[in-house]
Symmetry: D2
Subunit: 349 residues, 4 copies
């Protein structure tokens, strides 16, 4: 049941507070009875990783160095613990990196993604920018044969997009997506596949607007030039968008969302604003009967089945979202391109 997994491995770690990461040699992790050891094949860089790399305020408060970062990947199981019953050596898997308690109220009522006791691998514990990672059986997701496994390495952000799109009715609805980072872009084909009658993206960066068109956006607006609410109303017979997905965290975008949404519309919030925001509850929420919902993570594991189905059915083509590939040694180049905004998803092999 074991491979040759004793010894050392390479890992990309935050060793001390401050900017940057270091590629160092560490022990290959030892697994617990309910865990498996996975040889990581491909990894993807998340916006969270960029925050940690830059060492912003959020990172300084949350990260306790030294820690191996990274939480988007796929790999092959090379060892299974004695209390693992549904996976074997050789299985190709990705994983939900929120390790949850399965005993709190939220875990036991279908909301494990909001677990009170969550440990996020790659943030609170060692992640997957390494040769190997140890993970509990309960967190694994088998990559279906029909899917290019490279796509499984971006299931984490793809799942954020699927979770947000699917958090209410979709078919026949006009969607406005605020922000064209990788999750906002991924939400475009998902909304279309789920029956959206129209998908409008609001994003400043030219690179991302072009990527959005490739991924199927019906309209792309530039909020620095276009009157977003006015155009959205024109495109929707004066009604406004049925669904607004906020994926930028930007105060001006959030305000435009309120100006662009239809009465009784759904306003799903995923992007994290850096600061408190002032809103007019009466005019923006109460009188128009808006449903505002906070979204994070992926529903465990409804969202994961949905991801599989969107890809297997061919209704969603994620390929164009992966725009760059690097060796793990060249991580600094990779992170700098990520920070520039001129990229979709970046793979570290």
């Amino acid at each position: 049941m074991t491979a040759n997994t004793e010894g050392k491995m390479k890992a990309l770690r935050k060793m001390n507070p401050g900017k940057g990461l270091q590629l160092v040699e560490v022990d290959i992790p030892r697994i617990k009875p309910q865990e498996v050891l996975i040889k990581v094949i491909k990894r993807s860089i998340c916006g969270t990783d960029l925050h940690i790399y830059k060492w912003d305020e959020w990172s300084a408060n949350r990260i306790k160095p030294p820690v191996t970062i990274g939480h988007e990947f796929y790999g092959e199981i090379v060892e299974v613990g004695s209390e693992v019953f549904h996976y074997k050596v050789g299985d190709i898997v990705t994983a939900e990196m929120h390790v949850v308690c399965y005993q709190c109220y939220l875990c036991r009522t279908g909301k494990a993604h909001l677990c009170e006791n969550v440990v996020i691998k790659g943030v609170d514990g060692d992640g997957i920018f390494a040769d190997y990672v140890a993970l509990p059986e309960m967190n694994l997701w088998r990559v279906p044969k029909e899917i290019d496994p490279e796509l499984a390495s971006i299931y984490d952000p793809f799942g954020n997009a699927v979770h947000t799109v699917m958090a209410g009715p979709t078919a026949g609805k006009a969607f406005l997506i605020l922000g064209g980072g990788p999750i906002g872009i991924a939400a475009i084909p998902v909304a279309k596949a789920a029956g959206a009658s129209m998908v409008i993206l609001s994003e400043i960066t030219e690179y991302r607007k072009n990527l959005a068109k490739t991924m199927g956006a019906d309209y792309t607006l530039d909020p620095s030039k276009d009157d977003v609410p006015k155009i959205v109303k024109e495109l929707t017979h004066g009604e406004g968008a049925d669904v607004v997905l906020e994926m930028s965290g930007h105060p001006a975008a959030i305000e435009q969302g309120f100006r662009s949404i239809r009465k009784s519309g759904r306003y799903s919030l995923l992007g994290i604003p850096a600061k408190p925001i002032t809103i007019n509850f009466a005019k923006d929420i109460i009188f128009p009967g808006i449903q505002l919902q906070g979204i994070n993570g992926r529903i465990m594991f409804d969202t994961w089945y949905q991801m599989d189905q969107f890809l297997i059915s061919g209704k969603v083509d994620l390929k164009p979202l992966i725009t760059h590939h690097f060796k793990m040694e060249d991580f600094e180049k990779a992170f700098e391109i990520g920070l520039s905004g001129n990229a979709g998803k970046i793979i570290l092999e």
Copy 2:
């Protein structure tokens, strides 16, 4: 506010119990204050019309001759009553033909399609196989400019399909549709547009199977030759269909639906069986936690907005479903083709 609408018109009527219909001359209807008079432009033949034409047991119990039949159409408003406020002469409209009371519990809680006091025009009262029809303002549906108005003449069955498909979650779900009559066929592109990962149709007639492929079915099975449940399970990794839409009314098909559905699946029933059916509640409903739901009519008017959106967005192409056109004078040819089963929707101009 009026056109030259006094006088006589042609109407296709059931004059007496028994087979057939007669094309006769009758008075143009006089409108009430809340009604409009519509010049009918195109009409479509419904399965219900075929039943009335044949004069089967159901018809003999329900229809009180003389009555003008027909309830699928579009037309132009030529006169509006004094208490009509939102429509004017010249508007192109179709209509919900269930004239409801708006005062019963069902009408007042979003279920007017189940109204206790419904009068169905073309069944219980004069319908649209005539030059003119009088209808209440509350029943009208304005045909959007973006839509070929001929398609509006089949909004009634299209709405049955949309109502059935949309009666539960759709995105990422595998659908099995039992029966390839016009409503079953219309449900195919609707399910796909609403995000279905797979649509399988079970139907015996070769003509209809071919039409189903044109309309986007992923698989068409012939229940007289294929082992439907076995194939459905193979296509769905052994799980079964997430959603079964019963649109045949046939006892063998209903049984196959129970054999083909996934645990906790949705089984939506629209087709009307001629006789009682014996089912194993324990094995087929209770242990697997099945949701069985009776569907009829169209939700007033959620379904109608959904129809507009599916067509305007281009996600549903209904054109191939209209397979024949006849003059109203040639109604007998039209009805005989309808009875043969070798037709999609048949238009009377």
Copy 3:
């Protein structure tokens, strides 16, 4: 079909911009074909009426004098229009005072309470602080024989409470209600009747806290003295309230709601804040997965059936909420008591 309803009647009107109202003589209204004329028997004073009486900023912007105010009442039908089919002279009724268009998207999809073209009687048009009022048949609500009709005169605010409580799951849920005005107080027995495991009211005024206890609150907290979030967490095993109903419009209360709610909880907003409010989207909505919903009006007419059922079944006792009765001539005393906050509902006979 008519009573002796020609001639003059008394009406309490805002004649000019500025504080106060005038009791004057005006023509009895003439009904349209779809309307009935109702002799008003009892009226109740709403917070909105107090705003109009005071002539605050909102009133100055919205109200166009001269207008008869008031929108909570019950009465007896004394005349019915020629196109009214379900009511007759002598029927005891109350009414939904939002006169809606029944033709916009919201009206036609079960959200008439958010109608784009609403006219609110007693605000935008003549209301019920008068001897008679003319209303459309579609707005009427028959008072069941089992219910004391005086209670029907507060169906409007009772309906706000029922709508807010019932806007999500209720059974077994711990409720925190912020604000003990009449709607907040009415929400207490409604939540209990709908299965709430616990109802906590936060309110400063002693009079209202006592009334809340009479109406069944499990706990009443004084936000000027008590640490509301801390106590709510203690009462709920550290989790927080499952449901928060915001019925004060006060910024400090809204903030306390965010501090007191459980992860993934429902936060329903009915109280109208006077100004924009600053909130921390990340910490208060996104990370904890909160569902924030704007509520107004009453669902037409689901909420009305629910009101009937709560009262007929005896599960809700609204009687103690009516604390004062005045003659219409003594309206100034009535309004001053209303403004003092030391009252539940005040009836004008």
Copy 4:
């Protein structure tokens, strides 16, 4: 971490096919790493146990002797496995006895109660009619201090009742419950606590009808004498019951349910009919738009939280449902009383 739990214990076992059970001595079970050993304090007899005792057709097909039966209980943890993290020796617990795989589609999408690979302890594996039982940590439910632990010994059937009642809207709804076995009786106070406006029980046995009244039924009907559908319609203003809970499995009762339900009503099926049943799909399900749903088990663990809340809040009083207590040695007396129908729940101490 261990108690003196080696050695022998008493267990009530089905040793061979055929009627009856034997009280024998067996080894105390050894726990796996994720399991705990529980000293059983009180047990309750389920209808399933009566079937196994009698050895009917279902039992003969399902049960593989020798096996210790029984699955309703509470007890104290006396030993915990090395991979158990949230419970300790001395904790008072009951448990969900469906041991599920947590890896199938149903387990991973909130429907573990329908797990494809379930093992039911006390049916498919050794149960709790013994001094000790070994169970996985994931199945445990901590008994809150506020609850009499004897009530925890009937959480399994209480949970069936809660699951069935809560499977759709409850507040303000009129309920008809068909069948007054312990689950049907338990559903009465649950429905009332969840806001039912009326609860009608249909049951032949006088003993059970009396118990139903004690537990809060508004009306009890005897289907052998009363015209159930006629009376239900009279009690509901001619509409019929909003919700029908089928808890008898009797064909005549199921038929009465269809006759008594309101259009678009919810018909929840828990009782297991012994044979297939003939129903009129058109008249009973499709035209009236009925929602028929199969229910089994308890939602893991939403239902369990609901049970706690109903009891802790005092909204449900289950005490009267426990009508008999016996020593385990007197099991034959206990089972014979159970078979007579003249009992609520019977406890074995």
